[in-house]
Amino acid sequence: MSDREYPQHSPAAAGRDEVLGKALRRLDVPEHRPGFDAELRAKLSATLSERDADPQHPGRALRARSRTGRARHPSRWTLGLAAAAALALVAAVAVALSASAPASAAAVARRAARAERTGTGLPPFALTVVTVTTPGGFQPEPPPPRVTDRIDYAGPTLWRDKSVVTEPFNEGTHAITRIRNGHLIASIADGRVSVTRATRHEGLPFTVMAWQQAALRKLLAAGSSGRCAPSASLGGDGPVIDGRPTLILQIGGSPCPSADIPQSDGPATFWLDKQTFLVLRAVLHGPGNRIAETIAVTGLRYHVRFPASTFALPKPSRTKLPACRAAISLPDLAALERALVRPPLIPGSLPGGLRVGRIDGSLGPGSPGSAHCKITAFTITYNDPAGRPAVQLYEAPRTSPAVRFPGRAVTIRPGLTGTITSGSHMVILWWIQDGRYCSLQTGGLTAGVRLTTVPTAHLIQIAASLRSTGH
């Protein structure tokens, strides 16, 4: 269309445009998320490091990029970025990493995840690692707040891990020792010894240490290229930790947040051993950008020669413990009632056409299981009229450490108050009732199930109708 078809505005029209402009300027614009500036600065620093680390062509990485000042040319952008990526690869190799070191942040994340999961590239070593998890995230089965692991590692099939675990409410500590010797793994807890055959997925102390799952998950996500891969950047050289030079790996928030392991949802910083890529220190942020988990290694020694007795398997205890299954799927509410230690609280009414879907029971956190293998915690998934999982009800003993996270107080019914938290496309309502911890969630991902969203009012309605079924 030519300019002729658009005559000069009349004063009245110009006035209307001005009014519209003012209204548009008054529209809310969200502030940046917490940590945005730090993330950006880290990425910019990494870009600078890439450029500066290229000894042959300083500054070339920047010059090779597309000329963004001109009108957009996709091919130029593509070529520019490809050239930049290639130069970044060259530059990163030139950094003080070893000759075979991976170049990109994603590759470093993959390498670190491999070291944590399979022991790739790790010589025999001994270390102590302290994992501290702060309360604050939604998680049906949260890790204990503090675990100290002493690890003696001679190889993938020869290691010893002694964990001292702090109970969720500081009731005390207990120790679990696991020794792997060849195909067998001995577990020693509360004076009892059980010996089992190692499975394919039960190889390294790191993978056995469930409390470090968030860190491993974060590294794996950053090393992937999928839709849920968070951004990752190399933050340059870190401090010397335990005599080891470190490399800083910064990983952004997860594009696909999970309620299961919220410690892996926010941004995280890892300090990796520059040569072995072992995690020496990590700070993981959860919802609200609060620090959710810290990992700190001390007493690290490589190339340790262990006496053979270190990995000697103790004899198993003679008394047999009942074989309780930690988690079971139940066909209906009647079966759930039979399987529970005490009667459940069940909604008296379900709004919005919700129907009972899947029912899962488990030995609740901190509960070793009764003599009759009764379960203490359960999750009921309610499906919407289209059959999609929409709401989950979780109940556990009141003392369960699950979900004491801050939120907005809401009256469920007279005399019963809950806490509601929303964000990351999910809403969670939790409260304590009749000695039980209860929570309702809609939206997001929890216990491996992705939920669609129902109005918050429905959650409150369900909660208000909860009553004990009695045995």
Binding site: L27, L40, L48, R65, R67, G69, S231
Partner: protein, 212 residues
């Protein structure tokens, strides 16, 4: 009491002084920007952060109104700022730095929108579950109906960007044409349509009519 002509003169003088002050401020901003730009081009990270800080609000507004999600807005802006930092040495100053930044942010956002729309063609169950509830809360819909933001969101992204840059940011047609990579006539055309659609949407809201 001052005479009519005296009042007129005083208004003219005050208007003139305001204009002079505005010009001075603008010149000051331009000078600051030029200094920061020169430092940023040498790899001064702090200068670059300050430089984008001068335009951050406008760029946030553009990215947010295009993507309609604060998380995606932040991701897009980080990507755009990184691209700008890497390409800074290639910035020839043919357009204002602000216009150049708008172009980068606009292109990153459009890429994201394209990815989003191409993704929706091959919907998997997992992705479909993440999409907004097809039956949103009626109360929420009613509240949005009288909202300029919702009316703006109903426009196609290219039209949205045009009206935001011209009417909200006060950019001239040529600068917007440079940002969008289209002729000035197209900017005028999009702007005219956008204004008409916005006014219609808002007047229908006020009169209580249903929007299609």
């Amino acid at each position: 009491m001052a005479s009519a002509s005296g009042t007129g003169e005083r208004f003219e003088n005050e208007a003139g002084q305001r204009w002079d002050r505005a010009i001075e401020r603008t010149q000051e901003v331009v000078a600051v920007e030029a200094r920061l730009l020169a430092r940023a081009r040498t790899g001064d990270l702090d200068a670059f952060v300050q430089l984008i800080g001068l335009h951050d609000r406008a760029l946030r507004a553009l990215a947010y109104r295009l993507l309609e999600d604060p998380h995606q807005m932040d991701d897009a802006l980080q990507e755009a700022y990184l691209k700008a930092f890497r390409a800074l040495r290639g910035f020839e100053g043919r357009s204002a730095f602000g216009s150049w930044m708008h172009r980068i942010v606009y292109n990153v956002c459009m890429d994201q929108l394209r990815q989003r729309s191409s993704g929706s063609r091959r919907i998997s169950l997992g992705v479909a579950d993440e999409m907004p509830d097809p039956m949103p809360d009626p109360g929420e819909v009613a509240a949005q109906r009288v909202d300029l933001a919702a009316a703006l969101a109903s426009l196609p992204p290219k039209m949205r960007a045009t009206v935001l840059m011209v009417d909200a940011e006060g950019m001239d047609y040529q600068a917007v044409a440079d940002v969008l990579g289209v002729p000035v006539g197209t900017v005028r055309s999009r702007l005219s349509q956008a204004r008409r659609l916005l006014r219609r949407a808002l007047s229908e809201d006020k009169s209580g009519h249903e929007r299609p």
